[in-house]
Symmetry: C2
């Protein structure tokens, strides 16, 4: 289970599982989605890893991340084919058994029966759930995800991952929401670096980031200030805007 934490801060990691992401053949679309979702509900994603369809790599990553963060979201590797080894790897990471789960079978059997399809050994793989896990509903293609301890195992197909993430969200503990304010400048980063660094020192509890962009081929900058405290954030933003205005940059 998750380590004891400051009640206001709930942390998470994302573990993407799949050879196809590492080879470049498939471009991940889940990391950014989960990051946005977690930020919106008050969970701070602190780390992401992508590993291959390799049991040793999955077990090592799951055990490293679940000890360090309140939640770990995994994506990928829970389908019917031999390369789908996530459920078995997570059972091994937790040191629990895994077998066809009667609750999962009760979802899958009628789904295939209605379609006149046989419940082959491959399809039966999708009902394998680690002992002690709770199912996570999949309203698109039935085969469930699951949650064991603080690890939430979701599908890799983005639309299926998304409905599973919605299904599990009410069960998650959340903290204060991280708020952020962005300030767009028509100047390159180098022009504001010193002023911005001084302002960060004045508000050490408000993380401030600077992100270079190009607009009409001109180097521009987006400054982002973040805090879970809306009043402190507003004060830090107002102070920065005053300094930028005094320099004629806003």
């Amino acid at each position: 289970m998750a380590p004891a934490q400051d009640n206001d801060v709930v942390t998470a990691a994302v573990l993407v599982i799949g050879d196809e992401i590492l080879s470049g053949r498939t471009k991940d679309r889940n990391i950014g989605y989960i990051a946005d979702h977690c930020t919106a509900i008050g969970i701070q994603v602190r780390e992401v890893r992508i590993v291959a369809d390799d049991e040793g790599a999955i077990v090592a990553a799951v055990n490293a991340l679940r000890a360090r963060y309140d939640y770990v979201f995994t994506t990928g590797g829970i389908g019917p084919t031999h390369d789908d080894i996530t459920a078995d790897s997570i059972a091994r990471a937790f040191g629990v058994s895994i077998d066809v789960d009667p609750r999962a079978l009760a979802l899958l059997a009628p789904y295939y029966e209605r379609r006149g399809l046989e419940l082959t050994p491959g399809r039966l793989r999708m009902a394998r759930i680690p002992a002690g896990a709770e199912l996570v509903e999949n309203s698109i293609s039935v085969a469930p995800g699951f949650m064991i301890g603080n690890v939430i195992t979701l599908a890799g197909v983005p639309n299926v991952m998304q409905v599973m993430l919605d299904a599990v969200t009410p069960r998650l503990r959340t903290g204060k929401k991280m708020r952020s304010v962005a300030i767009d400048l028509q100047f390159p980063e180098g022009a504001i670096a010193d002023l911005f660094g001084e302002h960060q020192k004045a508000y050490p509890a408000v993380p401030m980031g600077s992100y270079p962009t190009f607009r009409d081929n001109r180097p521009c900058t987006q400054l982002v200030l973040r805090s879970t405290d809306p009043d402190l954030l507003a004060e830090a933003v107002a102070g920065l805007k005053a300094k930028l205005t005094a320099r004629g940059m806003l």
Copy 2:
């Protein structure tokens, strides 16, 4: 330096550094690009991590990954602002000093002089390079990346990252190229899982993956077979196609 390896296989990890990726505000576009590039030149990406702008997290990730893989590509955190701490963190990971590098300064000083811009402390930060590192040229915005040991530090802005990756590529050792063949089927994964699993057993040296997709709202499947040996790959593909054809699925 990289551990001794089979000469035919060269491995890499990607380390993305940046709070803005973890919060979801910025969507990463570098992982997939580096993965494609490495696959094309004969380097196998085995792991990816995304960490915050946090020195402890960067140092731990760099040291874990550089011990395990032939190369580590980092992206992000080498600009002029206070949140750009990648170069200092990598110096700490390697236990070397870091200061303004005369070679980097020789690139930056005339660049700013030509534009009538002052070389502020912020801009000077971009000339900080760990002792013993080689520079990696940046043909877009001059401020260089660098390579120290087996770690290659690149910018986070995608077009700048890309020119740096091109610049460093001739210096990298590469292995046999991983080739892959995809077979698209108009059937869901469950329909071919057992046949496909048996075929994988017949060719254990050819990793085979199955990827569900939706086409016109119908569940379809892409099978991917991979090998560095073109003859073995062709044989495994031909054998699989014959089995699919015999079942009327191709």
